[in-house]
């Protein structure tokens, strides 16, 4: 496919778009499966007794885990629209460019988080293998008490 200008009007119009909020019920089982998958034996993520006697009082999420699924439908719906527009412009191949998260409060099993995502920016850059586009998604996670727990930024690369 030939690559035209990446930031078409259609792509540009997506900057600032927001997703429907996602509700994430943070479950002990999901935390354990996540810890299993990364092979992290830390008892804070697995052992209820241990966690009860820690300063957290309950199993907590490992850093980077904010409830299952990691790729939530609201945010994915939002980035899918950007991907579609970028694919039309000749950038159909997708890579996960990176992640950044800032933690404000621990996330405990039993918490219910609400996640709000926004397309913060879309840029283009000449890479080693041709032009690449960077879509930055910002997500804010709020817990059941209305407290901000995490702010995350993801980078989607389409090329």
């Amino acid at each position: 496919m030939t690559q035209g200008p990446a930031l078409t009007d259609e792509v540009r119009a997506m900057i600032g778009a927001t997703s429907e909020p996602d509700i994430l019920e943070v479950e002990r089982g999901a935390i354990r499966r996540y810890a299993d998958a990364i092979e992290d034996p830390n008892p804070l993520f697995r052992d209820v007794e241990h966690a009860r006697n820690s300063r957290y009082g309950e199993i907590i999420c490992p850093p980077g885990f904010f409830g299952w699924p990691v790729k939530r439908s609201g945010r994915m719906g939002l980035t899918a629209k950007v991907r579609e527009a970028l694919a039309k412009a000749g950038y159909p191949r997708l890579l996960d460019g990176g992640v950044e998260y800032e933690c404000f409060l621990p996330i405990r099993a039993g918490d219910t988080l609400t996640a709000y995502s926004k397309i913060a920016d879309i840029t283009e850059r000449e890479g080693k293998t041709g032009k690449m586009t960077f879509t930055i998604t910002e997500t804010t996670y709020v817990n059941q008490n209305g407290d901000l727990v995490v702010k995350a930024r993801g980078t989607m690369i389409c090329r």
Binding site: Y34, A37, I38, R55, P63, E100
Partner: protein, 143 residues
């Protein structure tokens, strides 16, 4: 579990204990289930090759999670991981060992918190940093 690390134990320039990971195709499928990311480039060789990759590759977010473990192991139960930033620069393949490393770049007290900043990264067997990043953690103080 390792001994609790304190702010006073830390010096700028010091390396933190590294974490080795032997990623298998099985771990990628476990990660797919645990994360809910079912993109086929991480388990279907033909699909991966059709998108121009040499074979199935390790999920970027799995590498970020390994770096999260590197940090939560180091800060211990009294510490807190406050901020993590990771760029997925290079590809990693199942069957190759990956090492997660970190180095202290700065320490300072801010609003009563004992803050340590680090450079973090994953390294492939050729010594290339495939997922470089940075982190901010808070440690307990003996003071």
């Amino acid at each position: 579990m390792a001994k609790q690390v304190y702010y006073e134990d830390v010096e700028e320039g010091m390396e933190i204990p590294s974490l080795a990971k032997d990623v298998t195709t099985q771990q990628l499928v476990k990660w797919a289930g645990a994360s809910g990311d079912y993109y086929q480039i991480h388990y279907d060789k033909d699909f991966a090759q059709a998108t121009g990759l040499p074979g199935v590759i390790v999920h970027g977010r799995l590498k970020s999670s390994f770096l999260g473990q590197l940090l939560s192991d180091w800060v211990g139960e009294e510490g807190m991981v406050k901020k993590v930033s990771v760029q997925h620069r290079g590809m990693d393949f199942p069957g190759e060992q990956m090492t997660c490393k970190g180095k202290v770049t700065k320490k300072h007290v801010q609003d009563g918190e004992h803050i340590v900043e680090l450079e973090i990264w994953t390294e492939n067997p050729r010594g290339e940093r495939t997922a470089p990043g940075s982190a901010v953690v808070a440690l307990p103080s003996r003071g």
